[in-house]
């Protein structure tokens, strides 16, 4: 009757799982360490985390392209590798930000680092599979860790942020699950490659479109929520504001990379099937998002909120590349994030070093523009670097984000969407205003108070991180070429 289940280790191809396992194991090790000695300093955890992430990085980069493993649920194709690498690099950059000169409560908990590593593993799972279950599990693992991390910041705002994010995330999870159910109902499978096969065979059937409608809309809602696309972006400004600055910067990148990979897998499949209205949907979503987020960012009084809207707008910008469904378009998504990552983390890190325990400038905001007024007089180097990040975000060449922008626009032009490129260009011009606003405050205004504490939170590790971000922002022109060719190779190898 029952065949004994034979599982050979070879066929499991556990190597594909290794990166996530390293992260998870690392998290557990940290917890165990805490059990053994609860008096350990946070710097130990930070270094441990970095080390683990480096090992993780090594394990990921060593993976062979286009392999499957662990009952074929793991899919190690090009985009899964590069997205994991990006996630890990961003995480490595993020971790040292814990080593501030002022003591922030959350970092003294080892749980913070354990959760962080679990979250990384979650994102890695999310990108390294085309199985909806695993994607869902990865998504939720990561999200739940993330909610907790936000709440750990231990301020009234961060609880509010966590609750908002959590509730909306839960709703989104419901949508995702329902979407998966519809897909399952349609095709009898939740493996995307099988789904694609079944769908392409059944595409001509009457009534199938309605079901595809259902599934794609439901899945799209979830991903749009994760990617903070309009009108599902509402959580983003509040959560960014409530979360600690590094985490906000991190949230603007890593979850979005992971979500983009899922979006590429799912909607790339729909687009490949020739379902054109998905493309229209994505384009509208992208344009509305980048434009409205831009105009909302114009009127912000708080730098962090402004950056939140700006990262929404950037997400919209990149979303447009998804609609192109070309290798270049997909490459541009990763290139953009790879370049955006450093600048954005740098910018949030700059906010982080100016973080005060009490709000000294404004009753409502932590980082009002006026806080940065005349920064060049107080902290010239900091002002210059921050301005650099702002200009980079605005897309001024030769700083890093410019190359991402130009690549996205080139991809749009190549795919025949010249108008889209123009819309992107105009949006970049609008966006320049609010980035400039900060530059203007820093360079052209006088300080509001004799505030000697703007760099209150500065420490050597932070300087290193910011310096690294600054260097990568400036020197982008020199590494764009290898980056592009690596990304392009990986992506075309995995067939996108």
């Amino acid at each position: 009757m029952f065949e004994p289940i034979k599982v050979s280790l070879e066929s499991l191809n556990l190597v594909t799982l290794a990166p996530m396992l390293i992260a998870i194991a690392g998290g557990l090790v940290i917890l165990v360490l805490d059990l053994i000695n609860s008096k350990l300093h946070k710097s130990l955890y930070v270094m441990l985390t970095i080390l683990l992430l480096v090992v993780d990085f090594g394990a990921t980069i060593g993976l062979n392209v286009n392999e499957r493993g662990f009952f074929d649920v793991m899919l190690i194709d090009g985009i899964s590798i590069i997205s994991q690498l990006l996630i890990i690099v961003a995480s490595i950059l993020f971790t040292p930000l814990a080593l501030t000169s002022k003591r922030f409560h959350e970092y003294s908990y080892p749980e913070f680092f354990a959760l962080f590593l679990f979250m990384v593993a979650g994102f890695q799972f999310m990108v390294a599979s085309d199985n909806l279950i695993l994607i869902f599990v990865g998504l939720e693992t990561a999200s739940l860790s993330l909610y907790t991390l936000i709440a750990l910041h231990n301020r009234s705002n961060s609880y509010e942020a966590a609750v908002k994010y959590f509730t909306m995330g839960a709703l989104a999870a419901g949508f995702f699950a329902m979407g998966a159910a519809v897909v399952y109902a349609l095709t009898g499978s939740i493996e995307l490659y099988q789904v694609a096969q079944v769908l392409s065979a059944r595409l001509g059937e009457t009534g199938i479109m309605a079901a595809i409608f259902g599934s794609s809309v439901l899945l799209m809602v979830t991903l749009a929520f994760k990617l903070s696309l309009f009108p599902f972006h509402t959580w983003a400004p509040d959560v960014y504001e409530g979360a600690s600055a590094p985490l906000a910067g991190y949230m603007a990148i890593v979850p979005k990379i992971a979500a983009f990979v899922v979006a590429i897998r799912i909607f790339g499949m729909y687009l490949d099937l020739g379902i054109e209205w998905v493309r229209v949907m994505i384009l509208i979503l992208a344009i509305v998002t980048m434009t409205l987020a831009n105009v909302m960012a114009l009127v912000q009084e708080d730098v962090k909120r402004m950056l939140a809207y700006s990262s929404i707008s950037h997400a919209g910008f990149i979303m447009a590349a998804l609609a192109l469904d070309t290798t270049e378009g997909t490459t541009s998504i990763f290139l953009y994030y790879a370049l955006f990552m450093f600048t954005n983390l740098g910018a949030f890190a700059m906010l982080w070093i100016s973080r005060h325990k009490v709000r000294r400038f404004d009753a409502r905001y932590d980082h009002p523009f006026s806080k940065f007024a005349g920064l060049v007089q107080i902290m010239p180097m900091g002002a210059v670097i921050m301005a650099l990040f702002m200009l980079s975000l605005a897309g001024v060449p030769p700083f890093s984000v410019f190359w991402g922008k130009i690549y996205v626009m080139q991809a749009a032009v190549n795919a025949g969407y010249v108008w889209l490129a123009i819309v992107m260009g105009l949006n970049a011009a609008i966006a320049a205003y609010y980035y400039l606003k900060l530059v203007v405050y820093m360079f052209l205004k006088d300080p509001v108070k004799d505030v000697d504490t703007v760099y209150y939170n500065l420490s050597k590790p932070l300087m290193v991180v910011i310096g690294f971000a600054a260097v990568t922002t400036i020197a982008a022109i020199f590494y764009v070429q290898p980056l592009v060719s690596y990304l392009y190779y990986m992506i075309s190898a995995s067939g996108y």
């Binding site: 130009i406 190549n414 105009l426 400039l436 022109i477 070429q481």
Partner: protein
């Protein structure tokens, strides 16, 4: 030295970086020295420039992003050579004459970076590198206007930045599209302008691309109706900012038309002659009138800049060697003359802290040297023969006459209207009795001011009397461009209108 262009670009930048270390009190001397060395380097460029060669010289090419076709590709020809010289000269003179007291060191460093971007724009032969420097030049200017400007400085600076930025992003899309077309035709990615020149585009593509590039360049020029950022920028900028803005930054726009629009889209350019000429004429007449209505001396010169840029524009679209060569020459002339005029206004502003003409009157008696130099620059500005201003204006109008006599007459009103507003400035400020008590004891030019203005006066007269050393290389490159445009043009109309001078076809000095 084959890589002199790189040296020209990066010398000021590196000097700017090192400048952070220099002590505040020595910053000025440091800046002037660096700018002087840079100027000498550019002179060296001129001397080692082969005037017999119409093509690109001192070409440097280093792949930057080969997959994407982006190369660090530089070169200089007769058209860009002198604009580079003017850039380095005006930076040097601007620094020498600078009267800023506040944050001199920052200003010097900013200027050095600005110089890098300006030189970069004019030597770049790769569209992306060009765009890079083009955009980057906004940043130091933003800072100069915003940090040292007048009461509305932030508004003016942001307006300047965003307006130009917006236009150039559309231009960027145009560039990307050209690259795409190039790729689809040849299978190779390239942003090299020289490669793009070889591209024969269908007319409707040309028109769209022309429009995209037009937006970028026209805002920079600034063409009517995109000119309104300019009066604010000039009105608020410190003297040095206005000098550089008028002398060099505006030239980027017209240079762009010569470097990109004409040779890349000859047919579209020919089709667009009339619309552009109409805009330019509106620009010439309208802004001349607006200039006349101004009460602020600096605003007059700001608007007069717009008006003169109209002349340059119309010359570019004359599609013959006289007109285009004249335009390029007029760029230099306008750069030097308007730069000098802004410096002059700055000098009186330093003394009286006002630029309103009603505050002056009778200055000629109080400050005779100042009045003389102002007078010379004024005459150059209204295009008096034997000053630099005449040569370009004359050639432009002469060239455009071939396209349309009527429009030439309308554009030619520039010489009348220019005289009207400039003479009215002179009369209001310099003539009449000295009515204001504060003006009675104004100091005439100091040695510093004199020595920064005298070289400009010398150039104004030298190039007015003997423009040949400058005009010949320009002419050679322009002729080569025209030959090439005519070959490339696909419509009969364009072939008809683009006029290659006989001397260029017979002598066969075309590469």
């Amino acid at each position: 030295m084959d890589n002199i262009l790189s040296v020209l670009i990066f010398f000021p930048a590196i000097a700017g970086l090192l400048g952070f270390v220099v002590d505040k009190k020595s910053a000025r001397a440091y800046g002037i020295t660096v700018a002087a060395i840079e100027f000498l380097l550019s002179l060296w460029l001129w001397f080692s420039f082969d005037t017999g060669n119409a093509g690109m010289q001192f070409v440097e090419m280093i792949p930057l992003i080969p997959d994407f076709g982006v190369n660090y590709y530089l070169g200089v020809d007769g058209i860009s050579l002198f604009i580079i010289l003017m850039t380095t000269l005006m930076t040097l003179i601007g620094m020498v004459s600078m009267s800023i007291e506040k944050d001199v060191k920052n200003m010097i460093i900013t200027l050095l970076f600005l110089e890098m971007t300006m030189v970069g724009v004019f030597v770049a032969l790769d569209a992306i590198v060009f765009y890079l420097f083009w955009e980057l030049s906004l940043v130091p200017m933003l800072y100069i206007v915003g940090a040292w400007g007048g009461p509305l400085r932030v508004y003016a600076a942001i307006k300047f930045f965003l307006y130009t930025f917006m236009g150039s992003l559309v231009m960027l899309v145009g560039m990307l599209f050209v690259a795409y077309v190039y790729h689809s035709l040849t299978g190779v990615w390239s942003f090299a302008i020289t490669d793009w020149y070889a591209l024969v585009l269908p007319v409707n593509y040309q028109l769209w691309l022309f429009a995209a590039f037009f937006l970028g360049f026209a805002i920079k020029v600034p063409m009517f109706p995109f000119h309104t950022w300019l009066p604010y920028a000039h009105g608020q900028a410190p003297t040095i900012g206005s000098v550089i803005l008028a002398a060099v930054l505006l030239k980027m726009g017209t240079y762009g038309f010569v470097r990109f629009s004409l040779p890349m889209f000859p047919d579209a350019s020919v089709m667009m002659i009339t619309p552009i000429a109409v805009l330019s004429i509106i620009m010439i007449i309208y802004t001349a009138m607006v200039a006349y209505a101004q009460k602020d001396m600096k605003q007059v010169i700001a608007y007069s800049s717009v008006s003169h840029m109209g002349i340059i524009m119309i010359g570019i679209f004359a599609m013959n060697s006289e007109g285009i060569g004249g335009s390029v020459f007029q760029m230099l002339s306008h750069g030097i003359v308007s730069g000098a005029l802004f410096m002059l206004v700055g000098i009186i502003y330093d003394r009286r802290h006002t630029k309103l003409m009603s505050e002056f009157g009778g200055l000629a008696a109080v400050m005779p040297k100042y009045a003389v130099i102002f007078g010379i620059m004024l005459m150059a500005s209204v295009g008096l023969p034997l000053t630099i201003g005449f040569v370009g204006e004359f050639l432009v109008l002469l060239g455009f006459y071939e396209i349309s006599p009527v429009m030439t007459i309308l554009a030619g009103t520039s010489i009348i209207l220019g005289a009207v507003y400039m003479l009215s400035v002179f009369k209001k400020s310099f003539f009449g009795p000295v009515t204001k008590e504060e003006n009675k004891n104004l100091k005439d030019l100091t040695a510093k001011e004199t020595w920064s203005l005298v070289p400009l006066v010398a150039i104004v007269i030298w190039l007015g009397v003997y423009p040949k050393p400058v005009l010949d290389p320009i002419n050679k490159s322009v002729n080569a461009m025209l030959v090439f445009m005519e070959e490339k043009a696909i419509t009969a109309e364009a072939k008809d209108i683009i006029k290659v001078p006989q001397s260029a076809t017979t002598v066969g000095e075309v590469k």
